[in-house]
């Protein structure tokens, strides 16, 4: 006798999908994919207990379930709300959600230094994507931003608290790796900061993963700092026989040189498997690795755009003499690449 599989039918922005009971709205949306997936800054599917904090994934539940069709009174965090049978969810089709999300993006950015030009994360930063896709242009904030000193967490990781959006992902990584709670949050409110126990260096084989989970440039790899912009590097999947981890990584090449090693990230920026510190920081030669294939990169990402193969100046430049003059140098370079 075949076991009966109970599946819940959920409709997100008018698109129906059948999912296992216990799935969150966000994961149901990810099964559909595309534009209707709510952005998530703090949720990380590989880390238990994450989510609910950044509020970018707010959605409107216009129908609770088949049994209880009442809508939910407030917008809910889709990463932490499980689906009910017959639930109807509005994401980008609800003006309330779009408006609220715009508000959240603005709030996340008011204390952010916006130092993308000197930030190593620029180009693969989730906050950049979020601001670009869901934010308003310009800011209404006119006060001084909070600032912190940079902190070295161990000799390989630097914490740049100014950029932090307090998603708590790194805290969950540290908590789930070690028994001691030595990496956590100090203080309260908008002056809270990520820190380690009295600046104690985090020392664990897998602690480098805090860099991978950080959606912004708050935790960066000191062995890669200021080496290059990510969009000038080429990602290649590779693996090696590693005694401590699975050894499946992405190598970031500039020419023949491996500039950095990260875990393999999926389309939502989440790593498939956590990698160890040896793989990340100490094996940076092609000879250490067995190469597989170039990492598939989203066409819309700046990393994908780095190759300039399909680069086309916007048509407005073609039509305007003044703009052509202003962009002379760049246009010449484009011609050369054709």
């Amino acid at each position: 006798m075949a076991e009966e599989v109970v599946k819940f039918k959920v409709t997100i922005d008018g698109i129906p999908v059948e999912v296992e009971p216990g799935t969150t709205i966000l994961n149901a949306a990810r099964q559909i994919g595309g534009d209707i997936v709510p952005p998530a800054m703090c949720y990380y599917s590989k880390l238990e207990g994450t989510g609910g904090k950044c509020r970018t994934c707010l959605v409107k539940v216009s129908k609770g379930s088949e049994k209880d069709p009442r809508p939910m009174p407030k917008l809910v965090a889709s990463c932490r709300t499980t689906v009910m049978d017959g639930m109807e969810v509005q994401n980008i089709t609800s003006p309330d959600v779009v408006e609220a999300r715009k508000g959240v993006v603005e709030m996340l950015l008011i204390n952010h230094p916006l130092d993308c030009p000197v930030c190593d994360q620029a180009g693969e930063c989730k906050l950049q994507d979020l601001g670009y896709e869901h934010g308003d242009e310009g800011t209404r904030y006119e006060f001084e931003r909070r600032t912190f000193e940079r902190i070295d967490i161990g000799d390989k990781i630097q914490l740049h608290m100014n950029r932090c959006i307090l998603c708590y992902r790194c805290v969950f990584v540290a908590n789930q790796l070690t028994d001691e709670r030595e990496h956590g949050v100090l203080n309260r409110g908008d002056h809270s900061e990520i820190s380690t126990f009295i600046h104690k260096a985090l020392n664990h084989d897998f602690v480098g993963n805090v860099i991978d989970v950080c959606p912004v440039g708050a935790l960066t790899d000191k062995t890669f700092r200021f080496k290059n912009r990510v969009w000038f590097t080429k990602p290649v999947d590779a693996h090696r026989d590693c005694p401590t981890c699975a050894g499946k990584v992405t190598l970031w090449y500039k020419g023949d040189e491996v500039l950095r090693v990260t875990g393999r990230k999926d389309e939502y920026g989440e790593v498939e498997e956590f990698i160890c510190n040896t793989c990340r920081f100490e094996t940076k030669h092609t000879s250490d690795w067995t190469l597989e294939e170039p990492t598939p990169v989203d066409h819309e990402s700046v990393i994908g755009a780095n190759h300039y193969l399909n680069f086309n100046p916007p048509s407005v430049i073609h039509e305007d003499k003044k703009l052509q003059l202003a962009n002379e140098e760049q246009l010449a370079r484009t011609e050369r690449l054709k």
């Binding site: 609910g52 904090k53 932490r80 006060f143 708590y168 309260r188 809270s192």
Partner: protein, 451 residues
């Protein structure tokens, strides 16, 4: 003269000691409940009484108790929320200081009703004297055999512990309180699961306010139906109100729910009117988080009915023209008070107390404070008022816990009712630094709304 249930013997010398409290009929409820009632009877009695949570939200206590999950072999906990930190509210501190045994008695009866064998009283860290008082009261009760193993020979065991908090406002939110009690950072949890299912140490837990728990004592002594006779409609019983601000006699008053607000402010039995013969300008009826009301909406609702001290009547008119009962922090403002300055002050508090977990509250409270500071100090523009409105709207309802709402509501209500005072600050930057806006038209009668 209204009936007193909680503060009946408040003026008795030595009422904080076990012996005097017992002489005055204390611990009758424990005897009655443990010897003649089943736990379900106690819950039923509380349900009948219509008692609503005294901490702020006003959720029916009996219903909250009946939601408690009761899986086999898992301990259940009762946690008393004594983290009273709402600006303007000081009733629980008063109760714990002067009649600690009322709380202990309520704790024993409530724990029995819920089947909890370990209960905690979480008291805000700044209230160290009250913590000592409660600890002494627990020791006295234990020595008298009303606490500990096999209470009164009924076979029921109960231990009560007092836990000092770190002094954070956010730890008054029930799930943050539980986190803090477990020894973690006091961040509110994401609900569901609710504490009734997975609370303290993952076990079913009920969190109640100090006053709610103390109110269980008269309910058991006199019966739920008797208790429900006091008050109006769904607002039953008596309530402690901590009156403060510009009144003649500030202090904690026990009122029968249903007293007209006007009587409460002006009668000599309670506040005794506005101090120094000034005129009333505004009222915050239930602690800093509830919407502020201008003078013309205080004694009468928008429909012209008298406004009463009940959950329903205070909330009459919704957020447009009403407010909330909240925790009973009754703050009265006279004509010399500046609403902009007061709103800034409240927002400063919420900025300081936001836990920093979710973005709208963490960033938005600080932003609102800065904008309000600017307006108050004569640097603002009209656009800032609209900006403030927009910020509060983006915080409200979008946060994990109600602190975001609590920070947004006072700002929203201040702008809604006192917008011209804000505009006056913007348009008269120099004058606003040297004098106050005064009463203006805020006491003028409101034209009835034509239906």
């Amino acid at each position: 003269m209204g009936r007193k249930l909680l503060l009946e013997h408040i003026n008795e010398p030595g009422i904080q000691t076990f012996d005097v409290y017992r002489q005055k009929g204390g611990y009758r409820a424990v005897e009655k409940a443990l010897k003649s009632m089943s736990p379900d009877d106690v819950v039923e009695e509380v349900k009948k009484s219509g008692l609503r949570g005294r901490g702020g939200a006003g959720f029916p206590t009996g219903m909250k108790w009946s939601f408690l999950a009761k899986p086999e072999g898992v301990p259940r906990y009762l946690v008393c929320n004594g983290d009273e930190s709402e600006p303007g509210t000081f009733k629980d501190r008063y109760l714990m200081t002067h009649i600690p045994h009322a709380l202990i008695e309520g704790m024993i009866v409530s724990s029995y009703a819920l089947g909890a064998n370990t209960s905690y009283i979480y008291v805000r860290g700044e209230m160290m004297p009250q913590i000592r008082i409660l600890e002494r009261a627990i020791a006295e009760t234990k020595a008298a055999g009303l606490l500990g193993k096999n209470i009164l020979g009924t076979g029921y065991d109960l231990e009560i512990y007092v836990q000092p908090g770190g002094g954070a406002y956010i730890c008054g939110e029930e799930t943050a309180l539980l986190e803090s009690l477990e020894g973690k950072r006091g961040n509110p949890r994401i609900k569901p699961p609710f504490p009734a299912v997975a609370g303290l140490y993952g076990c079913p837990t009920v969190v109640n306010n100090v006053e709610s728990i103390a109110s269980v004592v008269p309910i058991i002594n006199d019966g739920g139906e008797e208790y429900a006779k006091i008050g109006i409609e769904r607002s039953t019983g008596t309530k402690l109100i901590s009156a403060g601000g510009n009144v003649k006699n500030p202090g904690v008053y026990e009122i029968e729910l249903g007293v007209p607000v006007e009587e409460f402010i002006y009668s000599d039995e309670y506040c005794g009117g506005i101090a120094n013969g000034k005129r009333l300008k505004a009222l915050v009826a239930g602690g800093s988080s509830v919407p502020i009301l201008p003078a013309n909406l205080i004694s009468k609702t928008i429909n012209g009915d008298a406004r009463l001290m009940t959950y329903e009547s205070l909330a009459d008119g919704g957020f447009q023209t009403g407010t909330m009962m909240g925790s009973g922090g009754f703050i009265v403002f006279d004509e010399d008070q500046c609403i902009v300055r007061n709103t800034w002050n409240f927002t400063r508090f919420y900025h300081h107390e936001s836990c920093g977990q979710c973005s709208p509250c963490r960033e938005g409270t600080g932003w609102m404070e800065k904008v309000l500071y600017k307006i108050e100090h004569g640097q603002g523009s009209i656009a800032d008022i609209d900006l403030l409105w927009d910020i509060q709207r983006k915080i409200e309802g979008n946060t994990i816990c109600p602190l975001g709402d609590a920070a947004a509501w006072p700002v929203a209500a201040a702008i809604r009712h006192f917008r011209d005072e804000f505009e006056w600050h913007v348009l008269h930057p120099e004058e606003s630094q040297s004098r106050n806006y005064g009463l203006a038209h805020y006491a003028d009668p409101i034209k009835p709304v034509a239906q």
